[in-house]
């Protein structure tokens, strides 16, 4: 099987899941992306992407404790898996490798 590829949004969200650790659920991810890279993503978009990442085995999910804020509904917390970390790493390395090949202007 060939190398797995991640879409741009998938990579972004996977990285954010890595950043947020135990607090990685839908709204938190939307907010984090807004804060860190000033980009508006929809809640639905984040969910769909997370489920796709889960199917590919890059994240795992569990249902976490309820808070009062959300009308008592529980959160689905996502955590990055080892293969998720590995794919992020390899993508980063690929990019750095390519970037080095670009003639740099000084």
């Amino acid at each position: 099987m060939g190398k797995e590829h991640l879409g741009e949004l998938e990579e972004l969200i996977l990285t954010v899941v890595g950043i947020l650790q135990d607090e990685a659920y839908g709204n938190a991810i939307v907010n984090e992306i807004k804060e860190q890279v000033n980009r508006n993503v929809t809640l639905a978009g984040v969910h769909v992407t997370l489920y796709r990442l889960e199917d590919k085995g890059y994240v795992r999910s569990r249902v976490g404790g309820a808070t009062k804020l959300r009308g008592g509904r529980r959160k689905r917390i996502f955590t990055i898996t080892n293969s998720g970390l590995a794919v992020l790493k390899s993508m980063k390395e690929d990019r750095v490798h390519l970037w080095r090949l670009v003639p740099q202007l000084k």
Partner: protein, 886 residues
């Protein structure tokens, strides 16, 4: 404290949450709802309740996404490709196994889809008129209803456009156009060679024409193409016709002869040919300067109301306000004109609507025709879908074992539904591929009927959307009901054996067949009604005689002093020919336009009581040639013709009654005022149909002149047409050397007015034929299936003593019953719809019982013939063959 309702307090709309709950898999539901609620509460704080609510709804809708909806099991890869492959395989097998049914379904569906595609293309073409102009949305044609008779007209005087543009700040620019009459166009090459053609599509326009309308200039200059006097703009094909393939037309000279626009014109620009979907077709554009400074138009007192005026408005203009302002505008300019009504106004007709009613009459009828076509295509596709539904459910018992066994080994209901939907998808997919080929073949046929060049443009996205839509909707509509029926069988019932009863399915199927019959019956009835109306119009009493009437076009070169005597000589020579009964010359002929549409009134009556009527010029023999009956008075003689004080005219009955002359006898020798001229009434003609039977009778006035050079009506008595025409041609060429001899037959010319109706008729015949064919295919399939299922029952009946006739009538009756019900449904619809179409005709047939029952009998016979072979075979079969099998 402000009291808020419960819903406001609790925030998000309940229906949105309900919707989420409906489509969202339960495993995901809680956490997604939680995320949404959290977001909602944050939103309330930041953007307020109202916006938060909207955002919530929007967010819910965003979750309506295949990635969510289809995710029925968490954490398990959703790979259905194996299942889909199985569905395709079993679907294909079942198609191949039951070839006849597959053929019926695919044939019906592909015809249905092809008809949809073809009609869509036609409707799309019809509604694309004039939209190619970049500013189409802001261009309007100015129309008026100024006169006391309230008639609307698109024609305006040449002075209206400039005055309007000066007074109304909303108007960005205006353009006047005037169609030139037939003109001889000549181009002389330096080497003395001459290219000469007669042209009819010349348009005299303001210099703004090319700025308002979007016509690409290929050569020459766009801005000033029409500002200078004697400038002419030609289309590419005209440039080729006159100047050849490679020559540069700019600066060349074209000489024009005839009409108001004689002279030598210099070509200033070449533009692309006008697209077929333009309401303003032309080959040449002439600068209007020459017309307005010519002899006719320099007379300020003459009112020439024969310009179309188009305006381009600044984008956000309030049309209604603008139209209101025009009332004062007209009062200011024309206030002293007594013919103007109390509340005169100009209207602005959108350019894109012009196509539907070029002359402002019969506004709705064109659109109605198009709606009828859409309705036909909907009927046909529904009939085809119903075929699928009926055959698939009729087959249900045959497939019950398959379903039962699948269920027993653990196939879920949903999977069965998916399997049967895949089958209907396959059938629809095959059909749509065939349909495309069929449509490509059918489109030129339709194009031939409607006289338009139609072809599919596969780069057009809408075409692909339509096909995808038909495929998906078709698969769903035709597949979903059979899928549920088939997958609903209980394993135990099936495995136990015995006959499965699908009672509710049977009555539903019957309802669908009734619908098919009703739609077919309506289409057949439509065909009958249209056919009868056209026949009525073409064979009805016209009040005149048009048969054996040959129309000879007068000479084009009407110059020289002796032209009148030459015309008279020609006419007398024709009269002397043995095969000619009568000859008459006139300015116009029945079925064509009249010389003028003008306000007329009885002498001594107020201006405002006048009526618009038609007036034309004929020679003294006209009435006799056309066999028009004179009710009172007499036709012209040499003394009335010579009267230099007052002209003598003849009028028709309608003029007598509408203008208030009393009886035809009282009208004789009364004065009638036509426009500004007073004339004496010499005779009254019985009403005859100058125009088609679509038009009401209008008051008509006939002026007389000893000879008119435009058209000769020649009444032949012989049957040797070709020879007679040759003889007349000889006379013509001797009398007018160098002039082309042109002729046509009066009745053909007259009936050309019904071209639109004849198109409608042909389309109706074509498509109702197809509809009935598809319905019969389905019926045939259904009978063959049900008789097959009932063969044991039939055999037992026969053993117990039923005769062949008994069985035939029993089997036929169950379908003919449905035809009867369809008749009962279709009759009231016919009585509601047919009169609204017939209302478009001033003279029309009434719905007779025969007109309604005949289609019903036709359908009954067609239906019976369809089922006959099956029923006979079933009834005559030897009972032993079917009973011994067990």
């Amino acid at each position: 404290m402000e009291i808020r309702t419960d819903e406001e307090n609790n925030g998000p709309p309940k229906w949105a949450i309900g919707f989420l709950g409906w489509f969202c898999p339960s495993a995901l539901y809680e956490t997604i709802e939680g995320d949404l609620l959290e977001q909602f509460e944050i939103d309330i704080q930041t953007v307020g309740w109202k916006k938060a609510r909207n955002k919530f709804i929007w967010n819910v809708i965003r979750f309506f996404h295949p990635g969510i909806i289809t995710r029925n099991k968490f954490s398990i890869p959703l790979n259905q490709s194996d299942m889909i492959r199985t569905y395709l395989k079993t679907g294909l097998r079942s198609l191949l196994k039951r070839k006849v049914y597959s053929f019926i379904n695919i044939a019906g569906l592909s015809i249905g889809i092809a008809v949809c595609l073809v009609i869509w293309k036609y409707v799309e073409f019809e509604s694309s008129y004039d939209r190619f102009h970049t500013n189409a949305a802001h261009i309007y044609r100015v129309t008026s209803s100024l006169y006391t008779d309230g008639q609307k007209t698109p024609y305006l005087g040449y002075d209206v456009g400039p005055a309007l543009a000066a007074d109304m700040p909303e108007i960005k620019s205006f353009v006047r156009t005037h169609g030139a009459s037939e003109t001889m166009v000549t181009h002389a090459l330096p080497n003395g060679q001459v290219t000469r053609f007669e042209e009819t599509r010349l348009l005299i326009v303001d210099s703004t024409f090319l700025n308002i309308f979007s016509h690409d200039v290929v050569k020459g200059e766009k801005q000033n193409a029409l500002t200078k006097p004697y400038s002419i703009v030609v289309t590419e094909s005209m440039a080729r016709k006159y100047f050849g393939e490679n020559a540069d037309p700019i600066g060349q000279v074209l000489s024009l002869k005839g009409g108001w626009n004689k002279g030598d014109y210099t070509v200033t620009a070449v533009i692309k040919d006008v697209p077929a979907n333009s309401t303003i077709p032309f080959d040449f554009l002439l600068s209007i300067y020459d017309l307005l400074h010519g002899e006719f138009y320099s007379n300020r007192n003459a009112r020439w109301d024969n310009f179309f005026t188009y305006v381009e408005l600044y984008p956000p203009s309030n049309l209604r306000q603008l139209e209101k302002k025009t009332s004062a505008f007209i009062k200011e300019y024309r206030g002293n004109d007594k013919n103007i009504n109390a509340d005169p106004s100009l209207k602005f007709q959108p350019l894109v609507d012009m196509h539907y009613s070029p002359d402002l009459n019969r506004e709705g009828s064109y659109r109605t025709t198009i709606y009828f076509y859409i309705l036909i295509s909907v009927f046909i596709i529904l009939i085809a879908w119903i075929n699928y539904i009926n055959l698939a459910t009729a087959r249900a018992t045959e497939r019950s074992k398959e379903v039962g066994i699948k269920k027993a080994i653990g196939v879920s209901g949903k999977q069965l539904v998916a399997q049967f939907l895949t089958e209907s998808f396959l059938v629809n997919l095959l059909s749509i591929i065939l349909a495309l080929g069929l449509a490509i073949w059918l489109l030129p046929i339709l194009g031939g009927i409607v006289q338009k060049e139609l072809s599919f443009d596969f780069r057009q996205h809408a075409l692909w959307y339509l096909m995808a839509g038909l495929l998906l909707i078709g698969s769903f509509v035709s597949g979903i009901y059979p899928a549920f029926v088939l997958s609903s069988f209980k394993t135990t019932d099936v495995v136990k054996g015995g006959i499965l009863k699908v009672r509710s399915g049977l009555s539903f199927r019957k309802a669908l067949v009734v619908f098919q019959f009703t739609a077919s019956l309506l289409l057949i009835t439509g065909t009958f009604v249209i056919y009868s109306q056209i026949r009525f119009m073409q064979t009805g009493e016209m009040g005149m005689n048009m048969s054996h009437m040959l129309i000879v076009r007068g000479p084009r070169m009407m110059e020289g002093k002796d032209i009148e005597s030459r015309l008279i000589t020609f006419k007398n020579q024709l009269k002397n020919l043995s095969f000619i009964n009568h000859v008459s010359s006139s300015h116009t002929i029945p079925g064509g336009s009249v010389a003028m549409n003008i306000l007329m009134r009885k002498g001594g009556v107020k201006d405002s009581d006048g009526k618009m009527g038609d007036a034309t010029w004929v020679d003294p023999d006209f009435v006799e040639t056309y066999g028009i009956q004179i009710i009172s008075g007499k036709t012209w003689n040499s003394s009335t013709l010579a009267d230099s004080v007052m002209r003598t005219v003849m009028i028709n009955e309608t003029a007598v009654s509408m203008l208030g002359f009393g009886t035809p006898n009282q009208a004789i020798n009364e004065t009638i005022i036509i426009g500004q001229e007073t004339a004496r009434i010499g005779g009254v003609l019985k009403d005859f149909h100058w125009n088609s039977l679509k038009e009401k009778q209008a008051p008509m006035v006939f002026y007389c002149s000893p000879i008119l050079g435009r058209l000769f009506s020649v009444q032949l008595n012989g049957n040797n047409l070709t020879e007679d025409v040759q003889n007349i041609k000889k006379q013509f060429e001797a009398a007018f050397p160098g002039d082309p001899f042109e002729y046509y037959f009066q009745d053909e010319f007259f009936n050309r007015q019904y071209a639109e109706e004849q198109q409608f008729e042909k389309i109706f015949i074509l498509f109702s034929g197809l509809a009935v064919f598809i319905a019969c295919l389905g019926l045939w399939g259904l009978t063959s299936f049900t008789t097959l299922q009932r063969r044991k029952e039939i055999s037992i009946r026969k053993v117990l003593g039923a005769s062949v006739t008994n069985v035939i009538s029993m089997l036929s009756w169950q379908y003919l019953k449905l035809v009867l019900v369809a008749g009962a449904v279709a009759f009231p619809v016919t009585f509601m719809v047919a009169p609204t179409w017939l209302k478009n005709f001033a003279f029309h047939i009434d719905l007779s019982p025969a007109l309604v029952f005949l289609p019903f009998f036709v359908l009954s016979i067609v239906a019976f013939t369809t089922i006959a072979t099956q029923v006979f075979r079933a009834a005559r079969a030897n009972p032993v063959d079917h009973l011994k099998y067990e």
